[in-house]
Structures are given as C-alpha cells and as structure tokens.
C-alpha cells in the first residue's frame, strides 16, 4: 500500500503541475501569440512544439522537485533532512516517511493526465492506421511518374499531398498536372519533398499527442500555427530551389482558384493551411533567420537554475499544501 500511495501522490502532484502549465499557457496565450508572430517560421515551429511539450515536462519535473531531498539522499549527495523537523506531521520523503492515506480524490487527480495522454495516443494511433490504409490504397492505384519519389494519381481533381506514416509518400494527381505548368509543378513537388525531408508527418503526430494535455482551444490554435509554420518552411524551401518567391505565390493562388486540395489530417497538402498568410509572406523578403536559440538557451538555463534553487522551498511548500489538503 505504501508504494501505491506514494505513486498516487506523485501522479497527483504531476497532474497539478500539468494543469498549472496548461492554464498558464491558456491565460497568457494572447501575449504569447503576439510574440510568436515576430518569429520566423522555423522558430515558430520550434516554439509551438516547446509549448505543446510544456505541460508534460512540468508533470515530469514536479516529482523531481517535490522529492528533491529524498533524491539527493538516494544518490548520496546530501542526507535527507526529515530528522531536522520531526514536528511535521507529514514529510514528502519516500525514504523515511509513511505516505498519506490514499484519498479517492487524489487517485482521480492522479489519473487525469494519464487518461488524457492515453486518449491522445489512442486517437493518434487510430488516425495513423486510417492514414496508412488510405496511403496504401492510393499507392496501389497510383502509377509511377517521371520522378522516382512521386506517384501519379489518376484523378482530374487537383491534388498534391504527402500521405502515409511515419514518413509518407508524395502523390500528385493528373488534375494538378493539367492545372499547373512545368515550373509550378516543380514548386509543388519541392514543397512536398521538404515535408518528407523534415519528417513533418511524424512531427505533427507528436504535436497532436503532446497537445492532448492542453486546453482544447489553445491546442487547436497552437496546432494551427505549427501547421502554417511548417507549410511556410516548405514554401520557402521551394522558393529557394526554383529561385523565385513569386512563382511559389502564383502556384498557391492557382491551386486555391481551383478550390485547393483536400487532405485528411494525417496527410500534408500543398494548399492545405494558411493560404493567405503564406502568399503574403512570399511577397515579402526571405525571412532572416533569427540568431539561433541564444535566448531560448539562456531562458532554459535560467529556469533550470531557478528550479534548482527553489527546489527545497518548493518541497516544503508542497508538504504544507498536501498536509492542509489531507487535514493532518
């Protein structure tokens, strides 16, 4: 019973940290979104993935902070200090203390993020299976094209997509070939090739699973920004290869005129997301890469130092919180 109680309490603390992080992102979203607008697509994409991972990282960090003294003792760095304040009714110490009685509320709280992440993984697995099945059908029905990595779909509808999992294959329809001239077709193919080179299908899967710990509205907004950022990265790469940003913008416009492409969530289509933002971005100069992760590195280092310094206060604060909750 001792192990189960500690486990439930640990999971409950993780749950609180996870909820706290998700709530903090939800409340500061407007500010964050305004800041994100100023970033290049590449930075935006990394920042969105980092935001999506934040609740999970907080959930993982919380037990480390809560049981900081016990962990130091366990690894022989410093001996635990339970003995110094024996007057406490309860210690967050799995070495020297008995766990608090297991309350059903703690169990429910402990299970919440586990259920959410399991639901996210299950949903994603279902989507992967459906996408893979569709990709297999498309592959079987498609024919080889002059490009070894591009399969030709015999449909008059203009379609171009990367479909499959974890990498995906490029499918372009005859309709797309009829709609676009040779140079625009190169744009489309290079755009899709960049999705494959960057493992975007896998990246999106990871983002969706991580997002299952966020509030639904924030999750949708973050995934949207991430999608558009990935599309913009592919647009930029295609523009770099053909050496003409306007040609990429013209290609997007022509596809949109023909009602765009329609793709399932597991697939990535050339005109699937953020059409207007992408065309306007292509009319501007190539985004200048911000100085790589300097600020992000400093921020991470500062946060780690702050967490390390505050670990003991956090430990005592959590003890007081748990004590007041269980009424000891």
């Amino acid at each position: 019973m001792k192990v189960e109680s500690w486990l439930a309490l640990t999971l409950a603390l993780s749950s609180v940290a996870c909820l706290g992080a998700a709530l903090a992102i939800r409340l500061s979203w407007r500010l964050l979104a305004r800041f994100m607008e100023k970033l290049t697509p590449r930075r935006q994409s990394s920042a969105m993935l980092a935001l999506l991972a934040t609740p999970l990282l907080c959930a993982l960090a919380m037990p480390l902070l809560a049981f900081f003294p016990s962990l130091l003792d366990l690894f022989g760095v410093l001996s635990d200090h339970c003995g110094h304040h024996v007057h406490h009714a309860f210690h967050l110490c799995f070495l020297h203390s008995a766990p608090p009685p297991l309350h059903w509320g703690v169990v429910v709280l402990a299970m919440a993020p586990v259920i959410l992440i399991a639901r996210g993984i299950f949903g994603e697995a279902r989507m992967i299976m459906r996408t893979r099945a569709l990709a297999a059908d498309f592959h079987a029905l498609s024919t080889a094209s002059e490009d070894a990595d591009v399969r030709l779909l015999s449909t008059e509808q203009p379609q171009a997509m990367v479909m499959g999992w974890p990498v995906g294959r490029i499918f372009v329809s005859r309709g797309m070939g009829a709609l676009l001239d040779e140079s625009s077709l190169v744009v489309v193919k290079e755009h899709e090739r960049t999705h494959i080179a960057h493992r975007d299908v896998l990246r999106k899967s990871l983002a969706r699973v991580l997002g299952s710990l966020m509030f639904p509205e924030t999750r949708a907004q973050i995934l949207d920004i991430l999608d558009i950022a990935r599309e913009r990265i592919c647009d930029e790469r295609a523009a770099e290869i053909v050496g003409d940003r306007l040609l990429v913008a013209e290609t997007l416009l022509r596809i949109e005129r023909a009602h765009g492409t329609t793709v399932p969530c597991g697939a990535l289509g050339v005109s699937a997301k953020g059409f207007e933002v992408r065309v306007r971005a292509l009319l501007e100069d190539t985004p200048r890469e911000q100085r790589a992760h300097t600020w992000a590195g400093w921020l991470a280092a500062l946060l780690s130092i702050a967490a390390f310094t505050a670990a003991e206060h956090m430990h005592h604060g959590l003890e007081t919180l748990v004590l007041s909750l269980i009424g000891g």
């Binding site: 059908d137 498309f138 079987a140 498609s142 015999s154 416009l253 329609t262 997301k273 059409f275 065309v279």
Partner: protein, 129 residues
C-alpha cells in the same frame, strides 16, 4: 454506391484484371497466388468479394467464371479521393471525423482577387527593373 474498402490481395486482383482485360481464377492464381503461396480458394474469394462489391463483372464459360473490370483505375481513384472530400464536406461530420480531417479554410473571392493583383503588380515591378 458506397466506397469500397479494399484489401491488398483485392487491389492486386484488380490490377491484374486491368492489365489482362478478362481473366479466369485459375490463371490469376498462377500469377498472383502461386508465387506467394496463396491458395486457389483465397484468390477465388478475393474475386468473389470484388464481384460482390460491384467492381468486377463475370460471365460463365463452361464450368469457369471469367471476370472483367467494371470500374477503371481512374474511376476507383476518384471514388477514393471523393471519399476524402465527402469526409470534409459532409453535412455533420462526427467528432472522430473532425479530428481526422484537416479542413482547409478557403479564401474568399475578394481575398483571392486582392492577392492575385498584388502578385501581378510585384511581377510587373520586377519586369521593369
């Protein structure tokens, strides 16, 4: 007609029929089944399922059935692509479907016209330089 869900063998059978035009099960088994150790009955079942799904037609010649395609590769592809569009544009997509489908927000006519003009003007400016 419902969109057919096809297995690997069924797709291979269809491919074989598209290539050959009209085939009997015995010859199809020699090409598709024997190299992979698939029994005659399994190949026969695949043909029967495709016939039941109305993707093949058949006529009897002697004791054997001769199968030919009722649908072209293009028609089947369009049906599958149509399935995607139906999922997106369906009147009340289920929650699961909403998660599966990535509905692209379509630009309005005004936006399209404005962007086209902007791009054309930029192209013109570049030409002058």
């Amino acid at each position: 007609m419902d969109n057919p869900k096809l297995g690997d063998l069924e797709l291979e059978v269809l491919e074989h029929v598209w290539e050959q035009g009209e085939v009997d099960i015995k010859s199809a088994h020699q090409v598709l089944g024997e190299p992979r150790g698939i029994t005659h009955n399994t190949v026969q079942s695949a043909f029967k399922r495709l016939w039941e799904k109305k993707l093949l037609r058949r006529r009897k010649e002697g004791h054997a059935h001769l199968y030919s395609s009722k649908i072209s590769r293009q028609e089947l592809t369009e049906r599958l692509v149509g399935e995607l569009i139906e999922q997106v544009a369906g009147p009340s997509p289920s929650v699961a479907l909403e998660a599966f489908v990535n509905l692209a927000a379509r630009a309005g006519e005004d936006t399209l016209a404005e962007l086209e003009e902007l791009v054309a003007r930029r192209r013109q400016d570049r030409g002058k330089k």
